[in-house]
Symmetry: C2
Subunit: 329 residues, 2 copies
């Protein structure tokens, strides 16, 4: 059994509503429509047919609702998307193991209502958020109620990097070009978001919080030396802000918290990255994911099958951890 | 025998000249003076005494001359630094295996003269440059003569990320704080610089170019899937610029070129990162380095000694590759 924990799908009603909202959203719709597997189920199912006993957990693709729509539009789009994703899951249980709810966190109160409804009535397995909310970092106090609510529901958060802000942030001539914002900017954003959550103490306040990070935890596993001992002297490189109390405000050594995240295997089949990520997060915190249809299914599976791990670890990655996290049968 | 390929040293005459140039440079001098091992040989040698048969290759610490000084000042500072580093190497051959020349590439003609003089008369083992030159990317045509000259000399380039630009680029509230510009921003910058050099065809034009990248090749080894297959569709994510001819302009598959870089082991002793980096670059393209005095010597050595590699690979990393690259006895 294989559960693909992180795949993207754009429901048709969502696309059609978005297309009619504004010219800017029409452009985004056009971009999404250029990837057929995102919305055409026949195309999608044919790709899925190549793998036996394989089911997907679906979530909206980029960009984040916060960046492409105003709060009112974003709320409506999330609501439409969640309703249709729930319907797709109930219609195609052999294809979709569950859906991750969309929210628009520029209106936190409305987002909390959507969280409750999606997890409650619609049966979402969790909620997807982005590495920052239209430029505002996740450790901003305004998002605290969201983490509190997710901790209350005891359901995982899917953490995804987001296109727009990465592009504007890396737009300098020296740093962008050649899709570097995608290739390296996204894992960078993921890493920064993880660090900000850790240093703001979110895991001390909500120890049961489960956060699934895309692309095998961003840069954390490869740079565990910089993150761990390198940041033991946090503050020594900074003159304009005082970080001296940050580490001591945490209950445990800061590197411990980074291991509390979950990490998915959407790495285009890299075998050495899988080893490195697995050594960092451990066999219970790595979940199989391909990023389909934006990442390859077959080569990502082959990386897991070819890895030098025991059968228990392989099963945990391919389905066990996802089933536990998402409370699937 | 251990050769530490990437360590930093700020010569006293360099510090004293810089301190007197301007108030801004005085501030930078003060920052450098706060790390004693950067300039105090007694302190430095005591740290080095903890390891047997251990020699360092020295280079200037951050920030880059291009970012902290005007072209005239930068040229003078490079000249002063190179002269004193050469003197230190000849005075302390059992401590210093060689020095990496400083240049100021905001005046390329002057920099080429300094390259010739440093490699010629002073015996520099190579030249250090930064991942961008005060905001201008390394693949800008103005730097082509520099790569041509290094290829002509057949001497390696040390590639270092640089403080100032990284800070300004990551200054947004969502992305900076907690020294993220250092922790993740530097490897990001290194990765982007590597990609730009590859995609601009520098290795096709100068196949003998040896470039030593800091921190085990930045993000490339862990994200070899994104860099390789992920960028096979380069251009598909971009609307405002046409990248369709980039990959076909190269003589070989683009991922091949990334393996032509050298990568140092300055990863704060991370064992899993060493494995991952070594699998990507291969045993002949990884060189031992600690980033001393800014990185730990002992734990970095222990990572090499504890790695599951054969004695030949271990010797190549600890000294063989550096001796070949730097033409050391």
């Amino acid at each position: 059994m294989i559960i693909d924990t992180y795949t993207h799908l754009a429901p048709r009603s969502f696309l059609s509503r978005m297309n009619n909202m504004s010219a800017a959203l029409g452009n985004i719709t056009a971009r999404l429509l250029s990837v057929k597997d995102l919305y055409d189920l026949d195309v999608r199912f044919r790709a899925m047919d190549a793998v036996e006993d394989y089911r997907q957990i679906i979530s909206l693709p980029n960009p984040s609702l916060e960046e492409c729509a105003d709060p009112k539009e974003g709320r409506e789009l999330a609501h439409i998307a969640n309703a249709e994703m729930a319907e797709l899951c109930s219609k195609h249980p052999s294809r979709f193991a569950g859906f991750v709810a969309a929210v628009c966190l520029t209106d936190v109160d409305a987002a909390l209502q959507e969280v409750d409804a999606a997890i409650g009535a619609l049966g979402a397995v969790g909620v997807q958020i982005y590495t920052h909310i239209d430029g505002v970092p996740l450790d901003h106090p305004s998002f605290e109620p969201f983490f509190a609510r997710m901790s209350h529901h005891d359901r995982p958060i899917w953490l995804h990097p987001t296109r727009t802000a990465a592009m504007s942030d890396y737009k300098s001539e020296a740093k962008s070009r050649f899709e570097m914002w995608w290739c390296f900017g996204w894992p960078y954003d993921t890493s920064v978001a993880m660090a900000r959550l850790v240093f703001s103490g979110v895991f001390d306040r909500y120890p049961n919080l489960d956060i699934i990070t895309h692309h095998l935890g961003g840069m954390i596993p490869y740079f565990d030396g910089r993150v761990g001992p390198g940041l033991d002297v946090l503050g020594s490189r900074t003159r304009d802000e005082d970080y001296s109390g940050v580490l001591s405000s945490l209950k445990r050594p800061h590197l411990d918290y980074f291991r509390m995240f979950y990490a998915d295997t959407a790495m285009f089949g890299s075998a050495s990255a899988l080893d490195c990520g697995l050594r960092f997060f451990g066999s219970e915190h790595v979940v199989f994911a391909t990023d389909a249809p934006l990442g390859p299914i077959r080569t990502t599976i082959d990386a897991i099958l070819g890895a030098d791990i025991d059968d228990g670890t392989r099963a945990a990655i391919l389905h066990g951890n996802a089933r536990r996290l998402c409370r699937l049968p």
